[in-house]
């Protein structure tokens, strides 16, 4: 449809040179001044999402493991605090206690992780103080998911992967919740985050049983830990292991001085 363009071009041209009318109605590229709007003022064009706000996927080298059993939930987290290829600390604790019978383990973007976990911890403790009762693991998991989900659609979302383990104070039933940085929530019998998923889930598929005792749970963790030491290319400095039972949360001694399993 050339006519409209030509007419516009001609109008601009004639206003510049009033006395000289073009004989040929041909569009000249430089006859019309373009209104160039700075891109930051363009309405919404950057905000039209066909994808999620792309953010770096949380670090995968950190190990988080969780196992439920008959009357307990075990949570294990790697002790290495990493920054790029460097290990900054070999005794890091990637867990926070939310209340007497709920534990949160986290991995992901450094800074985000502790900030988010302590925000959740503070709110959970505030709730316990105000209401003189404690939130159940299920209630806490849904609260955490809500916070993470609203953060996901904000300007700078938390990129944190979480495992939430606990024992319900009323029913004494153990539970484990798997949450990723997109705030997908799943209640699972056993779970892992990062590369550990690829090594440990298959092991747990084979060996886990809902009625295992705490000792059997620790043996399972050992199995997972050995496999990780054998297959992961970097040393994650061992695991912090915490057991949640109806009596509270207890740190379990775990392979303090055991050597890396070398043989396949």
């Amino acid at each position: 449809m050339p006519s409209r363009c030509v007419r516009v071009a001609a109008a601009c041209w004639s206003s510049n040179n009033a006395d000289e009318r073009p004989t040929c109605w041909k569009l000249k590229h430089n006859t019309r001044k373009l209104a160039i709007v700075p891109t930051n003022l363009l309405h919404n064009n950057n905000n039209r999402r066909t994808q999620l706000p792309t953010q770096p996927q949380p670090k995968c080298m950190e190990v988080l493991l969780g196992i439920t059993g008959k009357d307990f939930t075990l949570i294990a987290a790697s002790k290495a605090a990493m920054r790029g290829p460097t290990i900054l600390k070999a005794t890091d604790d990637k867990t926070r206690q939310l209340n007497d019978h709920t534990l949160l383990a986290f991995s992901g973007e450094p800074g985000d992780t502790v900030q988010f976990a302590e925000y959740i911890q503070a709110n959970s403790q505030l709730y316990s103080m105000r209401n003189e009762t404690e939130l159940s693991p299920s209630a806490l998991a849904h609260f955490v998911r809500g916070e993470l989900a609203s953060s996901l659609r904000s300007r700078n979302p938390y990129s944190v992967n979480l495992l939430l383990g606990g024992v319900d104070p009323i029913t004494n039933k153990p539970s484990l919740y798997w949450l990723d940085y997109l705030a997908s929530l799943a209640k699972v019998p056993y779970a892992a985050h990062g590369y550990a998923q690829y090594y440990c889930l298959s092991l747990l598929d084979k060996h886990h049983h809902p009625n295992i005792t705490l000792d059997e749970g620790m043996k399972l963790l050992r199995l997972c830990s050995d496999e990780l030491k054998r297959r992961l290319p970097i040393d994650f400095k061992g695991l912090v292991v915490k057991a949640v039972t109806k009596d509270g949360i207890e740190t379990k001694p775990f392979d303090e001085d055991e050597k890396v399993v070398k043989d396949t």
Partner: protein, 206 residues
């Protein structure tokens, strides 16, 4: 990164029968090729005869299902009656379009019976709320192509509740077996005028 619609995987299908409707979903929750959970239902109930199936990004499946629970509860308090499936479909549509430029990454399916006439009602949506009314069946999720094929060949008009259960189950199970991102068992709801039957199907666990 792949599309948000196919990160977690999942499939959902709804079908019309004679004075009944059926809606079914798989149970997988995955992270690309890795399966994280095999008990993640994608069908939610919002009234005696109103069901919503949500596939897509798992976080949005939960967020959107919670959002509609809130909206439907508010509707019920205000109107002092249950929401009708057609009304609910319009609520879904307008709620999704509110997020036109930053949508929820879900493909909803509504199935139900009209409260007065008892007529079957099903419809599907895209992620920004365009309604797709159908007389036969609606499919959504990562196994959409497979489900279309199965439904086109198995579905026929005026199926009774039992035949409809068989049809929708066969359609879903055989579709998800050809899709790597969905499967691991299924939930099937058969909705009739005076009863709703929920059945759990065991599918291939691989």
């Amino acid at each position: 990164m792949s599309s948000p619609f196919s990160i977690n995987g999942g499939a959902c299908v709804a079908m019309v029968g004679k004075d009944c409707v059926a809606i079914a979903c798989d149970l997988r929750l995955g992270l690309q090729a890795l399966t994280v959970s095999n008990n993640f239902p994608k069908i939610f109930q919002y009234g005696d005869h109103v069901f919503l199936g949500l596939t897509g990004l798992a976080t949005d499946v939960t967020t959107v299902s919670d959002l509609f629970r809130y909206k439907v509860n508010m509707y019920r308090l205000r109107e002092e009656r249950h929401i009708a499936p057609r009304t609910f479909a319009n609520l879904v549509s307008s709620s999704l379009y509110e997020r036109r430029f930053g949508p929820w990454f879900v493909s909803p399916v509504v199935a139900g019976l009209e409260p007065k006439t008892g007529k079957p009602f099903i419809c599907g949506f895209d992620s920004i709320g365009c309604i797709d009314f159908a007389k036969d069946f609606i499919v959504s999720g990562t196994a959409t192509d497979q489900l279309f094929g199965m439904c086109e060949s198995l579905w026929e008009p005026n199926l009774g509740p039992d035949e409809l259960f068989e049809t929708i189950s066969q359609a879903l199970l055989n579709a998800v077996d050809r899709d790597a991102l969905s499967g691991w068992g299924a939930h099937v709801y058969i909705i009739e005028k005076d009863k709703v039957t929920k059945r759990l199907l065991k599918g291939r666990q691989d």
